[in-house]
């Protein structure tokens, strides 16, 4: 728990995300930047609470690219840095991330990226950030449990110091949101920060022709790290001999069938593999990879050389499987490789689907007697009820009342995504942070330049205050500049709500919780030359909201309504805090 993060030693139950924090603190962390996104959100939330006490600079940056750049700058000036985000955040940050690998880090730097197989708390795509490891040549570690979250993060700082490159630690939901007893290490004594920016154009200016040399140097660095990975303690062989424990299977399996089989795995899939071997009653030697990139190729070759069959257990895309196929062609061309032919490529792994794959490695089936519910029921997420209530109930009622038939509704990322679900079922598209207005512009423009009835069709896009500041401003500016004439409704509930009530620049508190002059969203909108602007409290002035939507959507101009009413949960919490 969070109160254990600064404990001097011993053991504590930590969430994977908390263990990342602890590992970074044990490594002597100085600078943290992040943008909230589940399953990485608790990293920012916890630092928000403990940064001062932990003698660390912490900020919620305005988006992930900015967070990445903040960390790059602090690293260039020599501080020890951590930057954390969810998978989609890495997409946003990638424009600066890729050249960061060319410059390398000066102060040791760790990039934390959290994927969400099964999309438990993610719209948009079931992204696998391991693709970025190849794209950017980013050395990448994959912990499987909370203890490894701590240990690998600490190790990542050491690697970054040694090889002068940022190191990525990649989590998945079942690692980030897993709790277990973690053996704590020593926290270093607080020291004064000694940042110094030393001019070095050769290192920090990625202009051609120098940039090509930098590319070459990066590839050499990766080779060096690969050599290091061959003997790293995070790549381990668990040397059971292939054997069958379960008597039921033993009688049916011919001698030799279970021999010479092995499993290669990483991340939480390793834990499912151990569990699956128990379920199926079979054991095989395991090569557990802590390094995803670069891979310890010699170690893998040595592992697969004597085998007849190997199973690769990994979530989502078969990156490891393809590498093993390539290496097998060199050392063991007859090796039978099992992977995505027996395990799902979509959705997360669990002990059960892993057990099916493990059983197939031995030519068997795993089929426990599962009783399924006769009805598949699901409580869909919905706007909070109770009092004070979620202000979005009123807002969407007004929209439905006011919008002309055939209006195209553009969604965005935040609590108001829920309006895509019943009973609202509102949005016609919902893609990524800030895209509601960006895509809305394209839709409206396409209609506008077409002949006939299409020109009359309206577009209303929605965006929350946090998301507007993250990625909505440039989209709105484009709509004004290129005159598409959509209506953007900015839902200002004074907080970044869905990811757990983080502060943002429009809510009057900075990243250390101190009061600041809030950024006024209407001032930004005005500065973009939006002519029709209204700020309306939907709880107080419902009829005015309905009338304004009608007026603006028919005006032909790009218009903005800021629907401003505090998040019900936040209001409740503020009331409670006052009482206490």
């Amino acid at each position: 728990m969070i109160q254990d993060l600064l404990k001097s030693n011993g053991k504590a139950i930590l969430l994977g995300n908390e263990a990342i924090i602890r590992g970074a603190l044990e490594a002597g962390l100085q600078f943290v930047s992040t943008y909230p996104g589940t399953p990485a959100s608790e990293i920012g939330n916890s630092f928000y609470k403990i940064a001062k006490q932990a003698n660390v600079y912490f900020e919620f940056s305005t988006n992930e690219k900015v967070a990445m750049e903040a960390t790059m700058g602090a690293s260039f000036a020599g501080l020890k840095c951590l930057v954390a985000m969810k998978n989609f955040g890495l997409n946003v940050a990638s424009d600066s991330l890729l050249p960061f690998l060319y410059t390398g880090s000066k102060g040791p730097t760790v990039i934390l990226a959290a994927d969400d197989p099964q999309c438990h708390s993610s719209a948009q795509s079931e992204e696998n950030s391991r693709g970025f490891s190849y794209l950017g040549h980013i050395p990448t570690l994959e912990p499987s449990d909370a203890q490894e979250c701590k240990d690998f993060t600490k190790l990542a700082f050491q690697l970054s110091l040694k090889f002068k490159t940022p190191i990525m630690v990649r989590l998945t939901t079942r690692v980030a949101h897993q709790k277990m007893p973690v053996v704590l290490g020593v926290l270093p004594k607080p020291k004064a920060f000694l940042a110094k920016f030393v001019r070095n154009q050769k290192r920090f200016v990625t202009m051609p022709p120098r940039v090509l040399e930098m590319h070459q140097e990066l590839l050499q660095k990766i080779k060096d790290i690969q050599k290091h990975a061959e003997t790293s303690i995070v790549n381990i062989t668990i040397n059971q001999k292939s054997k069958i424990k379960n008597q039921k299977y033993k009688s049916k399996i011919k001698d030799g069938e279970a021999k010479n089989a092995g499993i290669i795995t990483s991340g939480v899939a390793y834990l499912h593999t151990r569990e699956a071997m128990d379920l199926v009653g079979m054991e095989a030697p395991i090569l557990k990879l802590g390094f995803f990139y670069p891979l310890p190729e010699e170690k893998i070759k040595k592992f697969i050389k004597p085998l007849k069959k190997v199973l690769i257990v990994e979530e989502l895309d078969p990156y490891l499987e393809k590498e093993v196929e390539r290496l097998a062609r060199i050392v063991n061309p007859k090796l039978q490789i099992f992977g995505k032919n027996v395990l799902p490529e979509v959705g997360e792994l669990n002990p059960d689907n892993t057990a099916i794959g493990v059983a197939k490695l031995f030519g068997k089936t795993y089929n426990p007697k599962i009783i399924q519910p006769t009805k598949k029921l699901k409580h869909l997420p919905r706007f909070c009820t109770g009092w004070p209530t979620c202000p979005y109930w009123k807002l969407y009622a007004a929209v439905k009342q006011a919008a002309p038939q055939g209006t195209v509704f553009g969604g965005d990322i935040g609590c108001y995504m829920i309006a895509a679900l019943p009973p609202h079922s509102l949005y016609d598209y919902l893609i990524s942070m800030g895209s509601g207005v960006g895509i809305g512009h394209g839709v409206k423009k396409a209609l506008q330049i077409s002949s006939g009835q299409a020109q009359k069709q309206k577009v209303i896009a929605f965006i929350g205050d946090g998301t507007f500041l993250h990625a909505g401003i440039s989209g709105l500016m484009n709509s004004v500049y290129n005159k598409s004439g959509l209506l953007l409704i900015i839902l200002d509930n004074s907080i970044t709500a869905m990811t757990g009530h983080q502060v943002n620049p429009s809510m009057g508190k900075d990243s250390s919780g101190e009061e600041i002059e809030p950024v006024k969203i209407e001032n930004i909108v005005k500065a973009l030359n939006v002519k029709n602007i209204a700020v309306i409290d939907q709880e107080e002035n419902y009829n005015q909201l309905v009338a304004t939507i009608k007026e603006f959507v028919n005006s032909g101009e790009t218009s903005v309504i800021i629907a401003r009413h505090i998040c019900g949960l936040l209001a409740k919490r503020q009331e409670k805090a006052k009482k206490d």
């Binding site: 708390s121 709790k179 007893p181 059960d352 426990p368 029921l377 409580h379 909070c384 869905m498």
Partner: protein
């Protein structure tokens, strides 16, 4: 099966305090020197949607997810969500179900339908109006999970004692909540 660990599945809807309950139970197991793994979900599903969390403890636990058919105990904080625990059930699994319903905005199930469905796996089902008892006796609905936990211990449905849970409550919650939670723990015995 080689399952020697104790597996708990807690189901309910976002906002019912599942994670607090998870913290208390895992702390109690931790204090006994056991290995623990838990898994929880945050984010979108927390806004009134279906949520399931897992707690596993024993000598050595690998996966944070409970394998299908391997649950020892299912706590359902909303009765329709008990169905979410069904695939984890075997004939020895104990279900403790809160007789309380929130709308699904789609197909729904009656308590009888839910219980009949669970009976296909196990007969060890305890359904009580835990929430209304908590509201009536303690004027509080947030402690319903702790009341269900206390009931489960009375029924010897998990290998932890009330003393161990009380200790864990004191270690995981601020002092001002102790009295209320301790009362909830002892509230419902039959």
């Amino acid at each position: 099966m080689a399952n020697k660990n104790f597996n708990i599945v807690i189901t309910g809807v976002g906002g019912q305090g599942l994670i607090t309950l998870l913290d208390v139970i895992s702390k109690a197991a931790f204090n006994k020197g056991l290995d623990i793994k838990t898994s929880e979900l945050h984010g979108l599903s927390q806004r009134g949607g279906s949520v399931g969390v897992y707690i596993r403890f024993g000598k050595k636990v690998y996966s944070p997810m409970v394998p299908k058919t391997q649950a020892n105990l299912v706590l359902a904080l909303e009765f329709q969500e008990a169905l979410g625990g069904l695939e984890f059930a075997n004939k020895n699994t104990v279900f403790v179900i809160n007789n309380y319903q929130t709308p699904t905005l789609g197909e729904s199930a009656s308590l009888k339908q839910v219980e009949d469905n669970i009976k296909l796996a196990t007969n060890k089902i305890f359904t009580m109006p835990f929430l209304s008892i908590c509201e009536k006796e303690l004027d509080n609905s947030v402690v319903v999970g702790v009341a269900m936990l206390g009931f489960a211990i009375e029924k010897q449905a998990l290998p932890l004692t009330k003393e161990e849970i009380i200790e864990a409550i004191k270690e995981t919650m601020p002092e001002k909540f102790w009295e209320l939670n301790l009362k909830a723990l002892e509230l419902i015995k039959e």
